[in-house]
């Protein structure tokens, strides 16, 4: 009966591995990646997943084996009166230390790519988070933000050209938010009073989720947007349509009673 507990502990590595094996078939896995740089993050994720997976299976199986073999009723040997082993301690200090340092150093380039090497571009759009909406301000024909020809959209739909490196300026008007593009593997908290940048190149046309990933109040769950990746020609046409719509409203403002 006592060995029953080892079998219970054996469920952990079995269930643990099975979950990750089955998950992709239910589409509960990394969402579709449509960015140029996202595969780097995905492959780093998979690298850590395999590494930790092997350590997980190894340690769990050792644990289960010991708990099976050294059960008091079955282990007729006298207890090993041991207080430890200096050489083992050295081995299991140095091995993980080297591995962990390697992981850290191995990740640095991708991190620098994503957050440090800002491309020398003008922002194609300024994203402003506010409770509970994403606002987008395009610079208009002159290419500069905060000039008279800016195009401001507040409907949560962001249009961006595909196959082009773009730079986004992101900020907040009130509390913290986080601009999260799951399909681009990018996330950046937005902080009032601070300008942040985000840059990427989309590889596929289509529309994808914009999620707020930092608690921002009661409407946090519905602070949703869509990003539309379209060809450069469609992008320019779309902005021109927006500009004309906006000019019409400016020329003939709706009467506020």
């Amino acid at each position: 009966m006592n060995r029953f507990w080892s079998l219970l502990f054996l469920l952990v590595p079995i269930g643990g591995v099975a979950t990750f094996v089955v998950a992709p078939y239910y589409n509960i896995w990394l969402p579709r990646d449509v960015s140029e740089q996202g595969h780097k993050i995905d492959s780093l994720f998979m690298f850590i997943l395999w590494l930790t997976g092997i350590v997980f299976i190894g340690t769990q199986l050792v644990f289960v084996y010991f708990s099976w073999k050294y059960e008091a009723g079955t282990n007729k040997q006298p207890v090993k009166y041991s207080h430890g082993s200096h050489s083992l301690e050295v081995v299991w200090t140095i091995l993980p230390a080297v591995t962990l340092l390697f992981i850290a150093i191995y990740q640095m380039d991708a991190w620098a790519e994503a957050k440090m090497r800002t491309p020398g571009l003008l922002p194609i759009v300024e994203v402003t988070g506010r409770q509970f909406n994403w606002d987008f301000r395009y610079p208009g024909p002159d290419g500069e933000l905060y000039t008279r020809d800016d195009i401001v959209r507040t409907d949560g739909n962001l249009y961006l050209p595909v196959d082009e490196q773009v730079l986004l300026r992101i900020t907040s008007a009130d509390v913290l938010h986080s601009f999260f593009l799951p399909n681009m593997r990018l996330k950046q908290d937005v902080v009032p009073g601070m300008d942040q940048s985000m840059w990427f190149k989309a590889k596929q046309e289509g529309q994808f989720d914009i999620v707020c990933a930092e608690l921002c109040g009661w409407g946090h769950y519905k602070m949703k947007g869509r990003v539309h990746f379209v060809t450069r020609a469609d992008f320019d046409a779309q902005l021109e349509t927006f500009r004309q719509e906006q000019n019409k409203v400016l020329a003939d403002p709706p009467v506020v009673r």
Partner: protein, 592 residues
């Protein structure tokens, strides 16, 4: 060093009730570390139930979004017809975390077990400062009242997350809970801090000054080492949180602007003050709260080490490396706070340095895990209830530790930050880890606390149910996080990316309801055994620890003899003696 007491009341006391002080002095305003420990234990068990109920609310909303919640919903959200309104959902996540961390885990480890065990395990008759000790408990009560009453004020309890990030938590118009609830939350937090501070000063002094003759630092059990390191962490980190809490309180009620940038608005209202920096709060908060993560796990590791060695009937493998690794965790714990802020907008170069220090802090945890495996290797494992909980701690801590590496890797963290991956990680460490260790510790030291045994069979039922169900609740959170599923979202299913996750969440919620419901097995066992359990002798587990040489329960003054210590606490299976255990107080055999 403790003095030898010859008071007849003390020495004759097999029960705790021999001395003549009145009821109020004995059980309420008691100076006795054991009673104070039990007061902490009972308070935290009550808050454990409250925190668990709040978790049920969260799980209900994630499984059945916007459907009225039966039973609890009527009470929590009667104006909405039992439906959890979105602002109440953010309140649930905020208060579930705040209560579990500040009212359950920290006080149950340091307050309950620290108080109860430290003098008993080092051979002292009480703490160094009994009055301070009593105050450390009574400072919890105003905190209980502030946070408890915040549910009933206008706007409801705090809704800014347990991390209380400004401006959401500071601007009164930013969230209903920021109206009044947040102020009460901050007051409660500050008082919890004072309580912990009083406790930590006391623990450090007691452990350094009041050890029995022969009890050198390297003969202390791991429980005491971990309590000692925890006390140091609290003493150095808590002042920062207290100061930050007072600064946020100032921003809220005095019009200061530590954390508010110029021109911030909320709810169409301009804010008068400004010139502050929201990220400053995050730095200050995590400078405390990252060490606090270790405050919430180190004592559990210590107690687990003691329990595993006792029921493997084998010396703890690598005692000194274990001590050095918890000290290493404590030291490194102060330079890793930035890993909570990788995507916060903090300087990205800083992110790299924090990644390296964070990776390195995984190392002591790995060493400890290997040493636990080394301890059960070649032992004679007795599967008692406390041992099962302690072993499950090791198994679960492996998962919680390994998942931390994902978040430490900055590029990967960009994607999984603030998703269910982190929720999985800290529940594996705090619930599957610490809470399981606390259950184990309760089953293990219950005989010493109340002089009676808990029922072992029902304990095993409780263990098996908890072990299976909690894995069903928390393990799938890893793959939810891989999908990008964000935490703290009242209704994520209207996003295209997350629309297929409802069924899995419903499965997890059913398991969560069962998990919470079946804890009744524990509570019935606990209270029934307190009065009707079979009497335990002094040393029912045949353990070496000094506390097991005292009467069960120990009377006022703890020991009915002057303990003298001859060896460390892990001499199981020693060739020097016939029995497989060798208590710390047993004199070595006379060499002929």
């Amino acid at each position: 060093m403790s003095t030898v007491t010859t008071d007849a009341h003390y020495t004759s006391a097999e029960g705790a009730h021999a001395h003549t002080a009145g009821f109020l002095k004995t059980y309420v305003f008691s100076l006795d570390h054991k009673i104070i420990g039990l007061q902490f234990l009972f308070s935290t068990l009550i808050w454990f139930i409250v925190g668990g109920m709040l978790a049920l609310g969260i799980r209900w909303q994630l499984a059945f979004p916007w459907r009225s919640m039966p039973l609890l919903g009527e009470w929590l959200a009667s104006p909405e017809g039992g439906q959890i309104a979105p602002e109440n959902y953010t309140m649930l996540v905020t208060m579930h975390a705040s209560i579990m961390i500040f009212f359950v885990i920290i006080p149950v480890l340091a307050g309950a077990f620290g108080n109860f065990l430290i003098p008993l395990m080092i051979g002292a008759d009480d703490m160094a400062f009994p009055v301070l000790n009593m105050l450390s408990y009574w400072f919890m009560w105003p905190a209980f009242l502030f946070m408890g009453s915040s549910f009933f004020v206008e706007g409801g309890a705090a809704q800014g997350g347990w991390t209380s990030y400004p401006p959401l938590s500071v601007l009164q118009d930013a969230a209903p809970g920021s109206l009044n609830g947040q102020t009460l939350w901050l007051l409660g937090l500050t008082l919890v801090g004072i309580s912990s501070m009083l406790g930590s000063v006391n623990y450090m002094t007691t452990i350094i000054q009041m050890r029995a003759p022969g009890m050198t630092m390297f003969r202390l059990p791991m429980t005491i080492w971990s309590m000692f390191i925890t006390a140091i962490l609290q003493a150095f980190a808590l002042p920062v949180l207290t100061a930050a809490g007072l600064m946020q309180l100032g921003d809220r009620v005095l019009g200061t602007g530590f954390f508010l940038p110029a021109g911030a608005t909320a709810g169409n209202a301009m804010v008068a003050s400004g010139g502050g920096q929201p990220l400053l709060w995050q730095h200050l908060f995590w400078f405390y709260s990252h060490p606090a993560v270790y405050i919430m796990i180190l004592p559990a590791m210590g107690m687990v080490s003691d329990i595993i060695s006792c029921f493997a009937r084998k010396p703890l493998f690598g005692y000194k490396p274990m001590v050095y690794s918890i000290s290493g965790i404590a030291g490194l714990g102060f330079i890793v706070w930035g890993h909570h802020m990788f995507v916060s907008g903090m300087n990205a170069a800083l992110g790299m340095t924090f990644m390296v220090s964070t990776m390195m802090i995984a190392l002591p945890s790995a060493i400890k895990t290997f040493n636990w495996l080394g301890t059960i290797w070649g032992g004679k494992i007795q599967y008692t209830t406390p041992m099962l909980f302690a072993l499950s701690f090791v198994s679960m801590f492996i998962i919680g530790g390994l998942s931390g590496i994902f978040m430490a890797a900055t590029p990967v963290d960009i994607f999984i930050h603030d998703t269910y991956f982190i929720v999985a990680h800290f529940h594996y460490v705090l619930f599957c880890g610490t809470a399981m260790a606390v259950f184990g510790a309760i089953y293990y030291w219950f005989p010493k606390m109340f002089g009676r045994m808990m029922n072992d069979s029902w304990g095993k039922v409780h263990f098996a149910a908890t072990f299976i169900l909690m894995n069903c609740v928390f393990y799938p959170m890893h793959i939810l996080g891989m999908k990008g599923f964000p935490r703290r979202l009242a209704d994520p299913y209207h996003y295209e990316t997350f629309s297929n996750l409802l069924e899995l969440n419903q499965f997890m919620s059913y398991c969560a309801f069962l998990l919470v419901g079946l804890q009744i097995v524990f509570f019935v066992n606990f209270f029934w055994s307190m009065f009707f359990g079979p009497r335990a002798g002094r040393n029912p587990w045949h353990s070496n620890g000094l506390e097991w040489q005292a009467p069960s329960p120990p009377g006022h003054g703890n020991f009915d003899f002057q303990p003298v210590i001859y060896r460390g606490p892990y001499e199981y299976g020693s060739p020097e003696v016939e029995e497989d255990y060798y208590p710390q107080t047993q004199p070595p055999p006379v060499v002929q």
